[in-house]
């Protein structure tokens, strides 16, 4: 039982990071009805930029701000230059195009920063916290990650429910034509959605890098877990992405604790398959019906 609780505690930090990346996927889905597989590539690229800024400035915080700015910009660029022209003719083509962007970003990162594993500086202590006469499997860094995730989720919830921009984003995702007639600049709103997703992904990248490594492909596995969480969460639900992101982190921690970390991706894919079989709309998804 002690092991079980320890494994759960140990999974909270990584669960929060998976939740952030799942949030980014949900945000692009809500904005444009496209799963952005390039999200992980964007996060990797902006984390490399952050690492460069960190090396120049020596400040983890300045590097984080640089990643956020780069994340927003990259989100806008990908949406504007790739997604918008492709989606105009074909939605499935747009999804394939995001794979293309992922490959292009990984190749570009390899050319600019090389393909070697880079260590990202750890801004806070990643060793387990010592309290009540023992060391717990959760670190100060994990608590920071959890805090940042909660802060972002609260901020996004307020944005979506309390501001006109949030309302416009929700409306645009549902019916762009009616949104236009309501005075909403739809294309601009979609681009903002991708920019915000880029910011969330960039934050996830900067947070995951210190507890893993950084290379053009090192975040790929995070995409598997985040995609699993986003789909099981309902793909449309911010709450679902967060709950299932944390849940996925806990499951992975348990699988890793009781067996081997190499089994974690298999378990994620099994969960995804079960979800598609049993509840294809996702745990927090809903099929809306209208009387006509």
């Amino acid at each position: 039982m002690t092991n079980f609780i320890e494994y759960l505690l140990g999974g909270l930090g990584s669960g929060a990071i998976i939740a952030l990346m799942a949030l980014a996927l949900v945000l692009t889905w809500r904005a444009t009805r496209v799963v952005n597989f390039a999200q992980i590539g964007q996060a990797m690229f902006t984390t490399f930029i952050a690492l460069t800024v960190q090396e120049i400035s020596g400040s983890w915080f300045v590097a984080l701000v640089a990643a956020i700015a780069a994340g927003a910009l990259l989100g806008v660029v990908v949406q504007y230059l790739v997604l918008r022209p492709v989606k105009r003719s074909d939605t499935s083509g747009a999804i394939i195009a995001t794979f293309g962007v992922l490959i292009a970003l990984q190749a570009a990162a390899g050319m600019i920063w090389g393909g070697e594993q880079e260590a990202y500086p750890q801004p806070f202590n990643t060793a387990g916290i010592s309290a009540f006469g023992r060391e717990w499997p959760i670190s100060v860094y994990d608590l920071v990650v959890i805090g940042v995730t909660i802060g972002l989720v609260v901020g996004l919830s307020l944005l979506f429910t309390r501001t006109n921009l949030g309302l416009s984003m929700r409306a645009t995702a549902f019916n762009p034509e009616v949104a236009r007639l309501s005075g909403i600049r739809v294309s601009r709103t979609l681009t903002i959605g991708w920019a915000i997703a880029g910011v969330v992904g960039a934050v996830a990248g900067v947070l995951v890098a210190p507890i893993s490594t950084l290379s053009p492909n090192s975040f790929d596995i995070l995409l598997v877990f985040a995609f699993t969480a986003a789909v099981i969460g309902g793909l449309d639900s911010l709450v679902g992405a967060v709950a299932l992101g944390v849940g996925t982190g806990l499951v992975i921690s348990l699988v890793t604790g009781y067996s081997d970390s190499s089994n974690a991706p298999v378990v994620a894919l099994v969960l995804l398959a079960l979800n598609l079989l049993l509840k294809p709309d996702g745990v927090f998804g809903h099929t809306s019906s209208r009387s006509v």
Partner: protein, 260 residues
């Protein structure tokens, strides 16, 4: 009826639209006078909705011009309409199913919001003031439609006539000069028809209404002026009585045999 352009809020001149090789509108000229309820009728496929789509910027005409409030509109963009004082409802209700009735109506006033993206993203205090102002305007529009009590309900929880009223409240919240109503009577039962008629008449002369409608009883009772389209051309226009007795209109609706 004499042609007096100065009294018109909206004018369409010789509009031609070809879509997928078909001539949908073939030189359509329509006048919508200030402060009146103008109807646009015609058999299915006559081009009525395309006229609305041209005015709304969803379809670009191949030739012809649109003049609104004495200004010729060159590149109409749908998201500019509410700022220009034009509100359009769609066939059906077109409500956002994941937003409450109040949020749906608030969206109709989006164009009035002046705060920028960054200030909204960072929830600056003045954005709260603007959102609150929009909320008050939306509640007033819901009250005008008599549905303020369903403000926090989702559209799917409301009976269809109430959904229609919420959609109309969304059209009213930006205080439009011109209301484009696309089949407002669609799905409305006989019991609510008199209510709808009274409502539309209550908007004039402060507002101008152009409506597309199949429900002839409503059209004849609510409209001051009617334009009749058939196969992309205006075949008649005039008062309800003039249109009702026009042989071309009878032929279009009933066929040559029926007209005879």
């Amino acid at each position: 009826m004499s042609d007096a352009d100065s009294i018109n809020l909206l004018e369409l001149d010789e509009i031609k639209v070809k879509l997928s090789g078909l001539q949908i509108l073939d030189g359509v000229t329509i006048r919508v006078p200030h402060g009146l309820v103008t109807g646009l009728i015609g058999p299915n496929g006559a081009g009525k909705t395309t006229v609305f789509n041209v005015i709304s910027g969803f379809v670009k005409q191949d030739s012809g011009s649109v003049t609104y409030d004495d200004k010729r509109l060159k590149h109409i963009k749908a998201h500019h309409l509410t700022k220009m004082g034009i509100s359009r409802t769609l066939q059906g209700v077109g409500l956002f199913s994941t937003l409450t009735a109040l949020e749906n109506v608030m969206l109709g006033g989006s164009a009035q919001v002046r705060s920028g993206i960054l200030s909204q993203s960072f929830a600056m205090p003045w954005t709260d003031v603007e959102t609150e102002r929009l909320r008050i305007a939306a509640m007033a529009a819901l009250e005008e439609m008599g549905v303020a009590d369903v403000a926090n309900r989702l559209p799917s929880e409301l009976p269809y006539p109430l959904q229609k009223k919420v959609a109309l409240a969304r059209a009213l919240v930006c205080d439009p000069k011109l209301l484009l109503l696309d089949e407002p009577a669609g799905g409305v039962g006989a019991a609510d028809m008199a209510d709808l008629e009274r409502l539309i008449r209550s908007w004039v002369p402060q507002r101008t209404v152009l409506l597309v409608e199949h429900h002839m009883e409503l059209v004849m009772s609510v409209c001051d002026l009617i334009w009749v389209l058939d196969a992309g051309k205006v075949i008649a226009w005039g008062t309800p009585d003039e249109v009702r007795n026009d042989p071309a209109v009878l032929a279009a609706y009933l066929g040559e045999d029926g007209a005879a």
